[in-house]
Amino acid sequence: MDFTTVILVLDSALRLATPLLFACLAGLFSERSGIFDIGLEGKMLASAFFSASVAAFTGSVWLGLLAGMGASIFLALIHGVASITFRGNQLISGVAINFLASGVTVIVGQSWFSLGGRTPQLEGAARFQEITLPFAEALRGVPVIGPIYADLISGHSILVYAGFAAVALSWWVLYRTRFGLRLRAVGENPEAVDTAGISVIGLRYTATIICGALCGLAGTYLATGLAAGFVREMSAGRGFIALAALIFAKWRPGYALLACLLFGLLEAMGNRFQNIDVLGINVPTQFMQALPYILTVVILAGFVGRAIPPRAGGEPYVKER
């Protein structure tokens, strides 16, 4: 594998990691507050649809972004009402949201566009375009650093950079602010938060809304950054992979970045090296396609120890039995 290939695979990995990263951080905020969320997939899908639709209507991807985040936050609030206010089962609520999103996106899409649940193809300002960073062209010629800067670092949609910024911001919010302290506390021991005079419910709703907003970014990037429009079920299981990445990352922002990059990298390599011969035997495509998942298991078993979830996770906060 030569240098250029490495750069290109990494470049692809960055793109593929970004939606995972947003969704993973979304799950991180939610689960850190003690609300398990397997509805990341559904929220991503809903936001992909609504962002693409509004972008198609208005021609503005930014309005699309708002709509995508709005839709995702709406679903997050349903999850919040079910699991915080009514102390319902968080897993069930998440499953329900996935079903709802699968159905609603297509039904509404069909009634709006009559394209079978697809949105029209997005063009121009209705999409997030790739950004060329300053001096990218000028530096391209410089050996090693040039291609890294021009081909790997430069030339992504703004949301990719936002994804990286979100990691840093999440870390900062979580570990350097009052809100972060309280959020981490409420996921570990809500009674400690309650007896300290802070509203458990308020904190958890806030976390849920942040989760919705981040899932909104994930979906928007899928539909308006990576693709140019919505196709039904286009989240294609990425919400679940993000969940896996979250566990992998042990609920920490920095590790989340690494985990998502790893998943992105494995997928990019799977894409790039689908047909290879080993000792003259053609390895079946299916094996190469399963390889990222096999490697994930191997890495998990070999290098990542036990992951301890936030202690109060999944349990509704009930003061009086």
């Binding site: 350097r176 602010t177 302290l181 570990e188 021991n189 007896t195 300290a196 005079g197 802070i198 509203s199």
Partner: protein, 520 residues
């Protein structure tokens, strides 16, 4: 208005006055029309049996629960307490029976949680660090501000809880069973702190089961029974016997009656026993002792000096090295046979220190818990596949009656029982099988005096039937009154052995502090 009246009349205004507080949890009336007056600058004790409603009352005062009826006056002013925030604003701080700390936070983080100065942590942390140092000096509340709370001893965790309250400038401090988990030394230390606080003019409410503590430190004491407040008296004008009677509603023996031991054959031989924990820290550094049938060996020591590990390795929960023989037969300390099943097959019963985490499945019914660990016993099997639930239930109900578990309803979940009764379930299960060796840790932690009396009687009865008993307790009283021999552990070693008649708390205290041997 009231405040002014009181001032005019020259009487001091009560720090706290509760009037007609009632609270029900579904069908359970935890508090019934309770009134209580606490004068400022005093230490006010509250006692009562398990489930009497003490914690509930204090949680209401602290805004953790909302009362169904009643009024609260703080310093003479009627105060609505809807949440803990209201209570904190009214200057109330509370140290709960079960600490409300975030285990994987540092001390500092726990202290500032909810009392941060601004949206950013850094300034708050810096300020808290300074204040903590100051408080530590003022009240002997030393604790490493950067330590993770889960890595602190229980005593230190409690200090964090007190610091939390002081940091919020509480001048009314509620402590719910603060000494239940403390060693005598730690308890003494706590009392010094409380006295210091009192001298600063703070008001303290202290809930405890230990009459000795009530007598030693409180100014006034209130007694609760079955959700009602039955008496409030000046401590100086009462006696422990009288209080015990008020609590339980009958006369209670406060001293353990026992005949001298008649030790028989050696049952347990432990030689150079070592345990290393997951982090590679050596917890037991070569323990050697013998235990005979019909004898109680009490292990004294400050919590965290290897007593827990000793019980766990003997009970087959953790692995160890060295040699352990039961009636001459070596026990496996690692690999096959080093598990709870095999130990039970040898006739070793184990009452674990932490009944809620280890000894019981809180969501299981009492009858299911009554066979926990003994589920392989042929008596409980209907055939090769099925368990005989009818027999198990019958057996459980019989044991619950015999061990005075209240209510004696085997169809209740373990979590529905009070702490004392949960403990009785575990004891019934482990002791009723007439084990050759009983390992028992903290048998009366958090248990009221009525139940303590009963539990102590059962342990002695078992000894008299010829069982060897290894008793681990941080209550020196308990060790002194139950044991036939006392071994003191410090830092994973046995510092020395004493006979209860030939030693005193002072000497044991020195051994517990690691001051070795005959010099003490």
């Amino acid at each position: 208005m009231q405040a002014e009246q009181a001032e005019a009349s020259g009487r001091p205004v009560p720090a706290i006055e509760l009037r007609g507080i009632s609270k029900a949890f579904g069908p359970v009336q935890a508090n019934r029309d309770i009134s209580l007056t606490v004068m400022p600058g005093t230490i006010h004790g509250i006692i009562g049996e398990n489930g009497a409603g003490k914690s509930t009352l204090m949680s209401i005062l602290y805004g953790f629960y909302r009362a169904d009826a009643g009024e609260i006056f703080i310093r003479g002013r009627k105060t609505e307490i809807h949440s803990s925030l209201d209570a904190i604003r009214a200057g109330i701080g509370m140290v709960f029976q079960h600490f409300k700390l975030v285990p994987n936070f540092t001390v500092l983080e726990n202290v500032i949680l909810g009392a941060e100065d601004g949206p950013l942590l850094r300034p708050s942390l810096a300020k808290a660090r300074g204040l903590l140092r100051q408080l530590a000096e003022e009240y002997e509340l030393q604790v490493d501000p950067d330590a993770l709370v889960e890595e602190l001893s229980v005593g230190h965790q409690q200090r964090v809880e007190i610091l939390k309250a002081l940091y919020r400038e509480a001048d009314i401090l509620i402590l719910d069973e603060p000494t239940g988990v403390l060693t005598p030394a730690e308890a003494d230390h706590l009392f010094r702190i409380l006295k210091g606080l009192k001298e600063q003019g703070k008001t303290i409410i202290l809930i405890t089961h230990k009459l000795r503590e009530i007598m030693a430190i409180t100014d006034t004491v209130s007694v609760m029974r079955r959700g009602e407040m039955v008496a409030t008296v000046q401590t100086a004008e009462t006696t422990p016997e009288q209080l015990a009677e008020l609590m339980v509603g009958r006369k209670v023996l406060l001293r353990v009656e026992k005949t001298p031991a008649r030790p028989g054959e050696v049952v347990l031989e432990v030689e150079n026993l070592r345990v290393t924990d997951e982090d590679g820290v050596e917890r037991l550094k070569g323990i050697t002792f013998e235990l005979r049938a019909g004898e109680i060996l009490g292990i004294a020591g400050v919590a965290g000096n290897g007593q827990s590990e000793l019980l766990e390795v003997l009970g087959g929960i953790t692995k160890g090295e060295g040699e352990v023989r039961l009636a001459g037969v070596p026990l496996a300390l690692s690999g096959k046979g080093a598990d709870g099943q095999s130990r039970r097959a040898f006739g070793i019963a184990h009452v674990p220190e932490d009944r809620q985490k280890l000894g019981l499945i809180m969501d299981f019914f009492a009858w299911e818990n009554m066979i926990f660990g003994y589920h392989h016993d042929p008596a409980y099997q209907k055939n090769a596949l099925m368990m005989d639930n009818t027999a198990i239930r019958r057996d459980a109900e019989e044991k619950m009656h015999r061990y005075d578990v209240r209510p004696p309803n085997a169809a209740l979940q373990a979590k529905a029982f009070s702490g004392g009764n949960q403990q009785k379930i575990v004891l019934a299960r482990e002791m009723s099988r007439k084990p050759a060796l009983l390992l028992v840790g903290q048998p009366t932690r958090g248990v009221d005096i009525g139940a303590i009396e009963f539990i102590h009687q059962q342990i002695i009865a078992l000894r008299d039937q010829g069982a060897a008993i290894l008793l681990v307790s941080v209550e020196l009283d308990e060790i002194m009154s139950l044991s036939d021999r006392i071994a003191v552990m410090f830092d994973g070693r046995i510092m020395g052995e004493r006979l209860p008649g030939e030693t005193d708390e002072r000497e044991l205290g020195l051994l517990m502090a690691g001051v070795a041997g005959e010099a003490a």
